[in-house]
Amino acid sequence: MRKISYEQAASEALLEEFRRDEKTIHLSTDVPPDLRKEFGEARIRQTPISESSFVGAAIGLAGSGFRPVVNIRMATFGFVAMDQFVNQAAKITYMFGGQARFPIVYRMTVGASKSFAAQHSISPYSMYMNVPGLKIILPATPYDIKGLMKTAIRDNNPVICFEHMALEAMEGEVPEDEYTIPFGQAVIRREGTDVTVVALAKMVHEALAIAEEMKLEGISLEVIDPCTLIPLDRETIKASVAKTGRLVVVDEACITCGAAAEFTALVVEEEQIFRRLKSSPKRVCGLDIPIPYSPPMEQYALPSREKIKAAVREAMT
């Protein structure tokens, strides 16, 4: 099958959906040239740097029958528009008793690794997961971003698509034929029997690499990528842990109150699964520090392969 990059796959999804539905509108400070060329200035709008205004305008557009896609770029920029996410987009469907639908896609780049420092590197998905009313996707491959993005654009709710900055250039197989990927389905990236590793975004690939290495140590990892954070496929995660009896969650976000805590809690609080646990669950996450600039410190802030392996080995003892 042909291979294209994560970024290209996202672009393709947009192109296809913008062709499919003329109610789609794109808002961003940097205009995507391919979309602009095909759909013109009116639908592919350049915005001033005023995120609150266009994150909010998307709500008004959606409530009036359009399907806006908004590219915020870095997730750190999203905070200047936070009220529009938390108090408006997330609550408006519920608060108005479901009178109108609000189909919106918000794209934001997460993660670290490029020495962009604290104000351009963050993985804040758990902050949004704590706000009911937002769907959240976190695609880890070109195939996934294309399929999930298309589903997001067709969904009738606000959806945040978090894209890891280090995956942009990653290549992967993407079919030429049309497809979508339903929300709320985790993918078992690799089957295994000893330890369930739930990994997010770029960490999916780290976990897969480690799984290869650990095979040599005789440890068999089952690697699960939730793909969608809200709605979350709890069943696949629980079923895997019920099978392996061991859980390691790997996430680059800061550990305290991150998604990894949620995964851990949802697994252990179910008596059935709790009883089957052979060792205590582990989290391997980003440290509780703002992302530092200098490469040695930045790397240290993120989960290393050694730390992940150590956690797996600990889970095995």
Binding site: P48, S52, F54, G56, G98, A100
Partner: protein, 326 residues
């Protein structure tokens, strides 16, 4: 108040009816809030009736409005159903939002009322989006955005002035300058007497200052503006000078620190009494007709309260429904 005999009798009577409906509705809400029948917080629109009425009377059903925390008047003037409004305020299942929103979050998308908002200035970007939608649709719909003087201090206000201006959106900024945000005088908070200077200054949006207690003036100014905006003239800023008669909201806690004489003076400029005088002095209607209108209005409010009171509360588990649309 200007006596404009060029206004048709029916128009004037209609304005009177709408204002009186808002007044009586709000009076009843205050009473029922105090008695404990209404939960939460309510922000009374009493004193500002001429603004919502004069503005919305110029709108078509397919025009849209976006409102703020003090939104009952805007709803009523846009034609919302009193029963469903009251039921919502009472927290009943039959309310506009099935009891999920309450006083600060009433919406009726079917009549182009895109919702009140509990966060100061947060409705502004939403209105800009609705105006962009209207522009993309290619018709001549307009969007009216209601907000207070206090909202002009939030950054979003300026971001939206800018979007409206550079995109020439069919958006009417309807600012109700009631001289205070809670207890903060507009002159302290903005350094200005008229906040419309902010629109004309940095954004080239025409600003019009209107006596917000003169419903005919509000009506006429909006009429002209709506025609311009429909014709593609881009955004306009209407600043309505007015005053609220009650404290910031109906709830214990924050005292009303505004000068008592100021309040009394503004009560002397009651928008409803003003129109009443015109109607009577010019012999447009008789006192008896006004009485009849009052009775009708009271009856509708009474019905709304009965509807609310007789409606069931939502079941607790109803809370689980409707976080997402299908």
């Amino acid at each position: 108040m200007k006596s404009r005999m060029e206004n048709k009798r029916e128009d004037l009577v209609h304005l009177y009816q709408v204002m009186l409906t808002i007044r009586r509705f709000e009076e009843r809400v205050v009473i029922d809030y105090r008695s404990g029948a209404i939960p939460g917080i309510v922000h009374s629109y009493i004193g500002q009736e001429a603004v919502a009425t004069g503005v919305c009377t110029n709108l078509r059903l397919d025009d849209r409005i976006v409102s703020n925390h003090r939104g009952h008047g805007h709803c009523i003037a846009k034609g919302a159903d009193l029963n469903r409004m009251m039921a919502e305020i009472y927290g009943r299942k039959t309310g506009y939002c099935k009891g999920k929103g309450g006083s600060m979050h009433i919406a009726d998308f079917s009549i182009g009322m895109l919702g009140a908002n509990g966060i100061v200035a947060a409705g502004l970007p939403i209105a800009a989006g609705a105006a962009l939608a209207a522009q993309l649709e290619g018709g001549d719909r307009v969007v009216v955005l209601f907000f207070g003087d206090g909202a002009t201090n939030e950054g979003e206000f300026h971001e939206v002035l800018n979007l409206a201006s550079i995109w020439k959106l069919p958006l009417i900024f309807a600012c109700e300058n009631n001289l205070y945000s809670v207890n903060t005088p507009v002159q302290y908070a903005t350094g200005l007497e008229h906040v419309s200077e902010r629109a004309t200054g940095g954004y080239g949006i025409p600003g019009v200052i209107v006596d917000g207690n003169d419903v005919v003036a509000v009506y006429e100014a909006t009429k002209k503006t709506v025609a311009e905006v429909r014709a593609g003239g881009g955004p306009v800023f209407l600043e309505f000078m007015t005053y609220r008669w009650r404290g910031h909201f109906e709830a214990p806690g924050i005292p009303d620190l505004r000068p008592a004489e100021e309040l009394e003076a503004w009560k002397g400029k009651c928008p409803i009494a003003g129109l009443e005088r015109i109607l009577l002095e010019n012999g447009i209607v008789s006192r008896q007709t006004l009485e009849e209108i009052n009775v009708q209005v009271m009856q509708r409010i009474e019905n709304a309260v009965s509807y609310a009171v007789e409606s069931p509360f939502p079941a607790p588990e109803d809370a689980l429904e409707g976080v997402f649309s299908s």
